[in-house]
Symmetry: C2
Subunit: 451 residues, 2 copies
């Protein structure tokens, strides 16, 4: 995307080697974004990490720090002096500070808290109280509050005075005894007559969320209405903070990754793929694999029950993987579409009848086409006679219809009873479909061949 001359990892190491500190400092200032620097520093030794960090301007240092992983942060904190630490803490936004603290061991937290002043410490403690994944836990407590009697000119003057330290200044919040009564876009302030009052131009039909609301819902609201920030209020409508659009985008990315992991039978964690140790990867993946392997016992018991049929017509076994595969794929198509529809708010539990009706029609059409093609294939390849082709066709049709109904219904029910719909994805659906496939298959086989 960006085409400026790259300040690469090699170049930084080379400049450190040659003690070109002044040049490096300059390059870092003009030619590097904190998020990219944090990425590069990941591969550095503690000594080099600390050297580069000390070259950064205060503000850049604080921002780079917020993008580091917890290992790097610990290395740094152990190396920095108390006064250096204090400077970093001062420059960091409060919501980022809280994120950092939540990941640190207790002794480091104590040291970090000692590096902040009393007022900040109180605010941090308040933020740490909010439940994980709540709006309160991701909000920023810095925002610009206006009074309704202020004029546009006064408002702009206030922004000029206090705005420099606020993460976002583009929406201002009108409060009366701390209660949120309206919002004013800076765009509005900049394009209206300076003598108007805030009351005249504020929007009183504003969107807001509560501190205890789910962070994903807050992020979806910000996306849906195209907002720069959403005000967060407590249960008395008193304004306590804002969630900004950049945090919303981050939350959505995390939540989507979490959904996708769960859909593949992996317990989600907040670390990156490489940041997760082998042991943790195993811990995240084993439970579902174990559960599904043991559930497959049911399929096995059913098949063993028909051992005599398989001994007489062993070619019947050869069709089972195809039947199960087709059923599983049909089921996961339906469940995936419904899970995503639920996640983006396009499908609700109330749509269940509409969804099932649609899936049944889709399933009927698909089962006719697939059964026919497969029947022809069996005859052409000489894998069986017409009776076998019909048996497989019937089983396939039943499996497809069943798979689509189960696939679309389970996520909706999960949502209704307060479970995460994403767990009703491919792995679970496949196992359920496997069991019903063999049941239906051998029932039809018994009927047709009287064995």
């Amino acid at each position: 995307m960006e085409e400026r001359e790259e300040l690469t990892e090699e170049r930084i190491l080379e400049m450190l080697e040659n003690r070109q500190y002044k040049e490096l400092k300059e390059e870092l200032e003009n030619n590097m974004y904190p998020i990219d620097l944090a990425d590069i520093l990941e591969d550095f030794e503690q000594k080099q990490l600390v050297m580069v960090f000390r070259l950064l301007a205060k503000e850049e240092a604080a921002e780079t720090f917020t993008y580091m992983n917890s290992d790097m942060r610990e290395l740094l904190i152990n190396a920095l002096t108390d006064s250096e630490l204090e400077e970093v803490m001062e420059e960091m936004y409060l919501d980022d500070t809280v994120d950092v603290l939540e990941e640190m061991p207790a002794n480091v937290v104590d040291r970090l808290l000692m590096a902040t002043d009393e007022e900040t410490r109180q605010q941090i403690n308040a933020l740490l109280q909010y439940p994980e994944d709540s709006a309160g836990s991701v909000m920023n407590v810095d925002y610009i509050a206006l009074r309704k009697e202020m004029t546009v000119a006064e408002s702009i003057r206030k922004i000029r005075q206090v705005g420099l330290n606020k993460e976002t200044i583009y929406t201002c919040y009108v409060t009366e005894k701390r209660r949120l009564i309206g919002v004013v876009d800076v765009k509005e302030l900049l394009t209206t007559s300076e003598s108007k009052t805030v009351e005249e131009i504020m929007d009183t039909n504003m969107l807001y969320a509560h501190t205890t609301d789910d962070q994903e819902e807050v992020a979806r609201t910000i996306t849906k209405y195209g907002l720069i920030a959403l005000p967060i209020v407590d249960h008395e409508m008193c304004m306590v903070g804002i969630v900004t659009v950049d945090d919303a985008m981050y939350v959505l990315q995390e939540e989507t990754t979490e959904d996708i992991s769960i859909m593949a039978g992996v317990s989600p964690n907040e670390e990156s793929y490489f940041g997760t140790s082998v042991i943790s990867h195993v811990k995240n993946r084993l439970p579902w694999l174990m559960f599904l392997m043991l559930s497959a016992t049911i399929t096995q018991i059913i098949m063993n029950h028909y051992e005599s049929a398989l001994a007489v017509m062993p070619q019947l076994a050869g069709f089972i993987p195809m039947l199960m595969g087709t059923g599983g794929n049909c089921g996961s198509q339906s469940s995936t579409l419904v899970i995503r529809g639920l996640a983006v708010g396009e499908i609700e539990f109330g749509d269940i009848v509409k969804v099932i009706f649609k899936e049944i029609r889709v399933a009927l059409l698909i089962s006719v086409i697939l059964s026919t093609v497969n029947g022809i294939r069996i005859l052409v390849m000489g894998q069986g006679d017409v009776m076998i082709a019909v048996t497989i066709g019937l089983t396939m049709a039943c499996t497809i219809i069943l798979a689509k109904i189960v696939g679309c219904t389970l996520p909706l029910i999960a949502k209704k009873i307060g479970l995460d719909p994403a767990i009703m994805a491919t792995p679970l659906i496949s196992t359920l479909v496997d069991i019903s496939t063999v049941t239906v298959y051998f029932a039809i086989v018994s009927l047709v061949f009287a064995i």
Copy 2:
């Protein structure tokens, strides 16, 4: 989230019925967001739709129009007079207009284009030239351009004059002979001395993208760096537009839905679940199902080859679904994690060795645990003797290791050769794993039992 008194579908219909037009107009103005109104109007008849639309203020009407689906838009366009249409077109942002035009039949496009002035028409035609999914196709051509000689006070005055019609005014772009040379945040303008020049405060180390860049990459840049908008330039660095954060969020949501659909073996389309007809749903799902069903023939051929073994030991067939299921789940865990890592830019092709090494270690641990548990289960449930338990355990271990390697490698290779990594997800991996599972299984069975 929002707790204002709800203006529901029923209430709107009731007010229309009672001819309370004035009250309804007021309610719509104060108590309704365009995106929610578009959602409600979906269920209305044409007559009611047009009546409500005519009650809206110009700006709200245009915004509601952009959120409607194409069927509703056509209904409306057919009912509105030319001058009404002209008003809507005038109020719409250019990028939204282009989106609308791309979905309309030719005769409607002609009518819409006639409702715009010559200059707009030329801009629209230029935007329509950009390839689908490119930055050019989603960008907005309205933005605020400053010259580097201007003072802060002059800049604010310029924003005041022209800003009202710009979709975003919070970042201004400094151009020189149309070439982009820097950016200035409005925050900067509002918090610096009014006598400074733009040149003194502008950031020349700015991020930008080209018109032909992929829209997803642009959206990821906006997320990564927490931007409000990203400037889009042509190949001579001349500024042609901006992509705003709300468009970026929309792009990411669409792209993620597309990825998730592909991962479940469903061809993506841009319509919603309910907006897609049964026939289209079948068309989107059938190709993969057909391909996978026919691929399963290979598994069948291998199994038929071992018909005699199955006739002698029919209980061997009962283990196949469990082995395939476990292999498939292991493979899809790995492929899903890698596909998501690629999508969010955390994993690159260059990491392939690191990824494989990690997956092999995970696979070894998992295979030891699952094979042992399963072996004990077989013995306890009396499903076989020690020889069978060992055979199944060996097969399972081989399958798990193979599945994890295939699962993590294929998405990386797909990315490398320019395919969408998402197609290397569950359905394809499962089929590949199925084939290798039966191959390995019967090879080991032949070896152990000499049949």
